[in-house]
Amino acid sequence: MTRLAPLVRPFPVRLPGSSWLAAALAVILAAGACAPAREAPVGAAASAARWFGDTSPPPDNVFRFNLGAEPETYDPGLAVGQPDGRVARLLFEGLTREDPQTLEPLPGQAYRWEISPDGRTYTFHLRPGLRWSDDRPVTAHDFRWTWLRVLKPETAARYAGFLYAVVNAEAYNKGELKDENQVGLEAPDDSTFVVRLAAPVPYFLYLTQFYTCLPVPRWAIEKHGNRWTRPGNIVGNGAFTLDYWRQNNRFEVVKNPRYWDAASVKLDRVVGYCIDDLNTSFNLYKAGSFDWCPSGYFPSSFIPYVREYSDYRHGDYQAVYFYSICVKKPPLDHPDVRRALKMSVDRDAIANDLLKGSRRPWGNFAPSGYPGYHNPPGIPYDPPKAREYLARAGFPGGKGFPKISILINTSEDHRRIAEAIQAMWKRELGIPVEVFNQEWGSYLQATTALQYDVARRSWIGDYLDPNTFLSCYVTGDGNNRTGWGDPRYDRMLREAAKELDPAKRFAILREAEILLLDEGPVIPIYHYSTNEMVKPYVRGIYKTPLDIHPLTRVWIDREWERRATRVAARKAEAQGTR
């Protein structure tokens, strides 16, 4: 057989199977992009509310939400982050508890208290008949033991510093004082708890509702050790008890019948999922698997899109997003260089354009909203002035300026902002900047060890007072992480701590903030806001400035549609008869 037989076939017009697949995908994509979300228009009135995704309430009295990350611990004394705090607040209750809307301290386990005229002695009276979930009585001794445990060095509680206001607490926690009886905590009888402070702290009652100060059951800890927080071992005095827990997945709590206010708790069960992927969280909310998507747990790119839905709630959050400057290496140790960097960041463009107005541009360090505190004028956006400062520092036009890096942890929100600022500094100052993206562990290590140039940071207020922000930049404070320190600043904060008159105190703090903004190592960028999504049938959740939500008053309203229709109808009627 010769090999001259034609091997050439007519060129086949053939699409590889892959392009059919691609076409199918494109169809799905197009369907997804164009399809409207499933809406539940309410009533016939023109002001119909639109709701996002699936709005059918769960079949039982269950409340489901995304906790976000897996809590590191369920032990309130060791709790660190917000997820830990949310769980702790479900299972335990402190001397005071937060008002669901204003977060003011309301009577919790203590039904009344007295404060001495000099502000240094607090006497709490516990309610009669309080019980733990295993029926043991809650006593003042429990509180004393808990707070001493937090202060004990072996416990390694990270928020022990909160209690340093108490007499001898700091010495005890640092291991200098060995006798716990010298710490200013007393329980003269089962229902009275006395706290003696070394100096008056105006926001002390807020601290008593913070998770570190929530009481823990001594006998359970002594019996089970590290495993005391497992379902079955754990004992609490809060509105709910732990029923189920699976790491990296979810936890479930059920109503605690022994809670003193069990009558007002309407939910039977609360389920918290631990989903840190923002898109997944958002999708689950849309599909109706969650009833509440807390702030920060859906991607901010979607905020302009969900703004028109009534699920979306927007409020102020006592938290600031800023960049910190490590002042160890030149030229960043020069205050003029820092001023130049600060003034060439266009906060408005970032907050309003890039983030589509979902955050507020912010040029101060302490957030807004502290009653009585007037923020000083923020850092202006003034590129010409910035260039002057840079020239004064010896780098006219950016010439000779070494390459600096912006350190961020992995998140595309952080990356977009970093890229925008990188471009701004390049454009306005002519300096070379790179963006350095690290995962959380490395990022923390670098910031703690001062091995960075500029780093993205955030700070969230722990209580409603500017001190929670300004105290970070005291020389050597663990949360400073910039190597900056100024004796003038330290002195002002010390004076403020001693000042009893609130107006004078705030004035001192304001001066301190002015110094921090001018010479300090912070470049504030935006003021956080809470952006959360709540289903129409959920009642009792309110937006709060610290993103804290007591869930004790939450209930599922199955009549929500009828109610909303009635309200809309009444409104239409009122408009019609006018």
Binding site: L21, A160, L444, N479
Partner: protein
């Protein structure tokens, strides 16, 4: 060599290998910057010392290493640094079945879809069917998981509300994650099957079978397939083990509480104990699996001897 002898010799190799891996990982992770117990909020120095002492991190390195080895031999990897209330062993044993289920389904789907594609492509080599079949298969490996996943979610869960978009609860929730994970493996299996079948179909005994008058399906399905599928079998070992790691994307997108995500986060968090336990677990799982595969291989292919 007898089967028992073969297995015994393998085990003798596995143990020192694990030791080398353990040592390598132990020192590698110590050398990486950062450590556990870090957060945005600073820990007072006294507390930090306490923590370091509690976990034996203040000991000299060689002593840490020795106690680690001693404990590892008893399968005790201590508590996780990031989640101190839990033991590493516990975490792994809880998360592994989830990953195993996810991976198992994905491989099953990959075989059920990929093998037939490979067979068709081999039988109709260089024809349109060949290109189409391989095209479909290769599409699976050319579209990254983290694109396919969200597309499927968007289309099937959020627009058509057919399936849950995430979470590992109930049978419907298995569908999308398994589909997403299996697509890459469909391609590999299809390609391997095609190669294996091409090789087998050229053999003389196949010609004999055809000459004997057996129908093509019987020739292909009964005679050729048995040997043609062998490359897939030997691929299953590394595939199964790798699918656990490779499922990180799927676990993240679909919120599946599996082992892959745990281990990656452990590396990010410098959770030394969980990383060590995870690496050793992964390595031993892989080696045992390979051993089983090798034994299965010999059962399937009489030409191969246990060597």
């Amino acid at each position: 060599m007898s089967l028992v002898g073969f297995i015994f010799r393998r085990v003798l190799i596995i143990i020192p290998t694990l030791w080398v891996i353990a040592t390598l990982t132990f020192f590698l992770i110590r050398v990486a910057p950062g450590g556990p117990f870090q957060s945005e909020r600073e820990i007072p120095a006294a507390a930090k010392e306490q923590l370091l002492r509690k976990y034996g991190l203040d000991q000299p390195l060689h002593r840490q290493y020795l106690s680690f080895l001693a404990n590892a031999a008893r399968l005790d990897f201590g508590p996780s640094y990031k989640f101190p209330q839990r033991q590493v062993r516990e975490i792994i044993l809880e998360a592994f079945p989830v990953s195993a289920e996810l991976g198992g389904w994905a491989l099953l789907v990959a075989i059920l879809v990929g093998a037939p594609i490979g067979v068709i492509a081999a039988v109709k080599q260089n024809s349109r069917a060949d290109y189409a079949a391989m095209g479909i298969a290769l599409a699976g490996v050319s579209i990254p998981n983290f694109v396919l996943g969200p597309v499927l979610v968007l289309g099937l869960a959020l627009t058509l509300y057919l399936l849950p978009p995430a979470l590992w609860q109930g049978p419907e929730s298995r569908v999308l994650p398994v589909l997403t994970l299996s697509t890459a493996y469909v391609a590999y299996i299809a390609r391997l099957t095609r190669g294996g079948m091409l090789e087998t179909l050229r053999q003389d005994y196949i010609r004999t079978a055809r000459a004997k008058g057996l129908s093509e399906p019987v020739v292909v399905g009964k005679h050729a397939l048995r040997l043609g599928i062998l490359p897939v079998v030997s691929y299953l070992g590394p595939a199964a083990a790798r699918i656990i790691m490779g499922s990180i994307v799927v676990e993240t997108i679909f919120a599946v509480p599996g082992l892959g995500r745990y281990l990656v986060n452990a590396a990010f968090n410098r959770d030394y104990t969980l990383v060590l336990g995870g690496v050793l677990f992964y390595a031993s799982f892989l080696m045992v699996l390979n051993l089983l595969i090798d034994v299965a291989y010999t059962r399937l292919d009489p030409r191969v001897e246990l060597a």
